[in-house]
Amino acid sequence: MTPDMIYGLTGIAVFAIGLAGALCAQDRLRRLLALKLCSMGAGFLLVVAAWRVPPDAPDPVPHALVITGIVVVVSATAVALALIRRLQSLETRDDD
């Protein structure tokens, strides 16, 4: 049992949970949350892959990749949320 193994499995589990949610969740916000979980799972995997047994320093490239990934996902999330908000406004108005 080493940290990389534990967190790697954690990441895979989180990804799978997110995947299940993304496929099944109906609520728009919840689906987005599920996708966020997926992205965290992927992040875990990369960070774990970069890990080296201390005192060796970890590989910085995957770290940079994860940071990039985080920013990319937040951008996508923001757009999706804007769509959700706009859609809700339109739908609620039409229901009246």
């Binding site: 969740a25 109906q26 919840r30 949350l33 965290m40 774990v48 890990w51 910085p60 923001a78 809700q88």
Partner: protein
Amino acid sequence: MTDPLVIFDLLLGLSIVALALAVLSVRDLFAAIVLFVIFGLLSALAWVRLSAPDVALAEAAIGTGVTGALLLKTLHHLRYVTGTLDRPEAMNLTPVTPVPMPVLWVNAAFCGLIALGLAVAFLEAPKVGPGFDALVAEAMPASGVDHPVTAVLLNFRAYDTLMEVVVLLAAVIAVWQVERGLSEAPAPHLGEVWQGFARLALPAIVVVGTYLLWVGAEAPGGAFQGGAVLASVGLLLLLSRFYVPQPAHRGIARLAFVLGTGVFSAVALLVSGGGRVAFEYPLEHAKTLILLIEGLVTISIAVTLAALFHGREPVALGEEERRNDT
């Protein structure tokens, strides 16, 4: 079991998985978002444990902080629009068709299988894989900065980073395109204590953000983390209504969104020539250029994230449109 910290790792891993499950299974959306924020923070903690402080910082600031704020704001909007602000729980805000139980089980089994396969593949993989360690170590002296992650982000793989800023730009353009108008679900009035706190916190946050940006050259931190922290200034300003976006400010906002991308790409292009290719900074100016890019990118990121939080393009709508808008 040589390392006693393994117990800590196990506990943390388990609680992260449990939180992930909870995020999807708890009925109240508000609770789900809060749980998600906790999940994000614990993940950041795990990444610190995996000696990835930069990633942890970015995750805490952007992946959890900004995202959480975005989610809560949207939730508030949805509740306002549907007129369910006074209900104790936030549920079924968007149209939901119930999924039959068997489908859920099949889906869960399917994803479980995938997880199993991935886990097997993961465990099969070499414990300490080959990597870029040696290459990075070799190239560090020529990078112009001392912190490897920053070197990767802004020199070795600067192209990626530029495109990442482009993604942010695309996002803010898309968001402005989708939403517009001044009216908005009114922000709750937060009282004097909050105002006082905001006054106290704002300058401190600015200092911290700038520090994070500056320190990025040699230690964990950098444009994205700094930008996210600075973005929280924007969030505070917007939330406390110290600043209300006006149509007239759109020009300057556009400039701020574009600033980082523009300078980054311009520098990348301008340094080329005379045998050098794009992104190839001359070594003697590398640090200066990287700091210049980082600084401006930070501003862009901060403004962009704040704009993403605010959401709509501040346009004065016509009477007809306003009625159609909330």
